[in-house]
Symmetry: C2
Subunit: 400 residues, 2 copies
């Protein structure tokens, strides 16, 4: 396997199904120049892990920025069956989370576009987060990590582009919390982006969404192993994190989808045992999701990222509460895709967002895709997403 | 205050807004004759706490049985501001949970009907449950309590009527889990009931409902104080029970209702503090609900009653999986009321139930009440419920 070092922290380039994948870890913000954060904190240094797919054109005008959701990472596409050498191997040796969408000839065509997917600050997948070492204490930050927001992530994405010498991107695309980054990028950098594609996301989370996040965090923070976030040297708050994940998974599916997939089917038995173990198939599914998650995610990152999800409100940030006013800042072509059974970021709010853009006499393509897969649809409705995203990405910019 | 003893365990009769309320605790099943339970266990003795309102007619033909939901109790109506003498006082000195519906001239008119509301076995409000003393060990049952089901509750309701010398009731009515008892009573005792009124309930819980219950129980059973249900002498699994309750409360409201009530309003502040305390009004609401619940409910009861909710499946029990076949057993007049924004027992499943009754050429009154209050609607939509229930209850039996 060929490897080349491309930046000071660490980087490998590996041949895989996407073509060449660059996995890079970059010191974007040096210790001496902290980044001022949206809610008042400062953070330095900031390392960013990101992957790229495809080839940057000579004019650097073929960049598509991909933003991941809550538990996502920089590994959006491709895979390397031999990647067993470092901490990233367990992620690299399976297909990226959006491999169905990103690749040669796919919706985001790597023969055409240079795709960049950075891991968010606050996460636990290579970029600086609560589990990183705080240089002031030489211990993991834990809850001394500053609050980061969707606005901060977008600011950092801008800095990453600066670092790579990219003035303007062809497009930004993301689903869920990634979709909120696509919204924020269009508002914050109207002159740096030609197209923004927002999947399964709205300009702000609903009261119900806030409530689900609150219960998830309650479970984590009341786990006896949580220890105010200082659990890195001992037992982790696995039970609390698992409960939060199980709960979240219900919100990623839909009532209809759960009915089709599980209904009231029993798990591995023909009759009730009459106890509190796993009786129904849906219980087994949730149990598995909870267990798997604690092995791959950091509880503090879960707290910080769900809080960022809570705080984001494009109307407040850019329009003093007025969504139409906020949308007057948008200059790029907008595509908004909702999914009929998504109740976390429901279609009626996506439609409202589209109308707020239209109210500014700015063009927007809004499609509500019929799907039983709930919020997860943006990850699984490959055919619909491809049919919508590919021509939109490959067309010339429409709006002025 | 006048008191009269009406049964061997304990009973008081108190004058309140309903007229005369009898609060009784009755040893329904004696130690020597255990009740055989649906899922195979046996239980004895069984004490039942129940309240009655109104006056039993000479022909004993004016009985309306009221069945409570998950966290309800026998105190459905009336109140006694002076009731400070015994363990029930904190419940008795506030209006019963359905006081808006039950009383003189109200939907369930106590000038006309004799209303009986028993507390379910497995609960913690006077009837035998996991917190009761197991006579074999002289300690609380905890998780050695046998599994009880909606079928068992209905069987016990039948035994209570036997004890009171009531052969046939005019009606049974309940919402949510109480509505499932109204369904089960109509199926199990077709000749003992003239009218069954089912509010916000379906013949079985959906996969999504099973999933929410599973997460709630996970929180309780993984609380370090849970101790396999043996926590009565020490610290209780309050954090787990609070999490379960917070989660459940989201399912009792609706997205629309939460938006109207809380939206993204901040709590007691004008700007984000940028932390993990209570920031949003909806977080304060959930926090309050969680805290209040642990002071009034037993975690083991929560486990048992949610499991009963999971297990109930009228189609399986009476039709081998075929709901239409199950409904062929129904002889009484049926009224089914769903609420448009109830997503725990959704309208489309209530409608399906109505159609299954109709498929047997049996009359049914089905109404879907437009309401933003979600599953809680059956408790708060007093005007709609009254307008539907009162004439239905007061009419002669229609069906053969």
């Amino acid at each position: 396997m060929s490897k080349e070092r491309i930046d000071p922290v660490s980087a490998v380039a590996e041949k895989d199904s996407v073509g060449w994948t660059h996995v890079a870890k970059l010191r974007l913000i040096p210790p001496e120049k902290p980044l001022k954060l949206e809610l008042g904190g400062r953070l330095a240094p900031i390392d960013i892990e990101y992957e790229t797919y495809g080839k940057l054109s000579q004019d650097k005008d073929n960049v598509v920025l991909v933003a991941h959701a809550l538990s996502g990472d920089a590994h959006a596409a491709g895979w390397d069956a031999d990647a067993t050498e470092n901490f990233r191997s367990w992620r690299l040796n399976k297909p990226g989370w959006w491999d169905s969408i990103i690749g040669p000839g796919k919706a985001i065509d790597t023969d055409r576009f240079f795709v960049i997917c950075p891991n968010c600050v606050g996460s636990c997948y290579g970029s600086t987060g609560p589990s990183s070492i705080n240089p002031e204490t030489n211990k993991p930050y834990g809850m001394s990590f500053p609050m980061v927001t969707v606005e901060d992530w977008t600011e950092i994405e801008g800095r990453l582009l600066d670092h790579l010498g990219i003035k303007k991107i062809h497009a930004i695309i993301g689903g869920s919390l990634g979709g909120q980054q696509a919204i924020e990028f269009a508002l914050r950098f109207p002159d740096r982006v030609e197209k923004s594609i927002v999947l399964a996301a709205t300009p702000r989370l609903s009261a119900q969404g806030l409530a689900f996040n609150a219960v998830g965090r309650y479970c984590i923070m009341n786990d006896p192993n949580f220890n105010e976030g200082n659990y890195y040297e001992g037992a982790k708050p696995d039970k609390g994190l698992a409960a939060a994940r199980m709960l979240a998974h219900i919100t990623y599916l839909s009532d209809e989808g759960m009915h089709d997939k599980f209904g009231r089917k029993l798990w591995d038995k023909t009759d009730f045992e009459g106890g509190f173990g796993i009786e129904f198939a849906v219980e087994s599914y949730l149990d598995h999701q909870g267990r798997a998650f604690v092995n791959r995610f950091d509880a503090n990152s879960y707290l910080y990222i769900t809080r960022a999800m809570d705080y984001y409100d494009a109307a407040e940030r850019w329009g003093g509460g007025d969504l139409v006013k906020a949308c007057s800042k948008i200059k790029c072509d907008m595509m908004i895709v909702s999914f009929s059974s998504d109740w976390l970021y429901p279609p009626h709010e996506c439609k409202q967002f589209s109308l707020a853009i239209t109210a500014n006499r700015h063009p927007v393509t809004y499609v509500n895709v019929p799907s039983p897969y709930g919020h997860d649809s943006f990850l699984v409705e490959t055919e619909s997403v491809t049919r919508l995203v590919k021509p939109f990405l490959e067309s010339k910019k429409e709006s002025e």
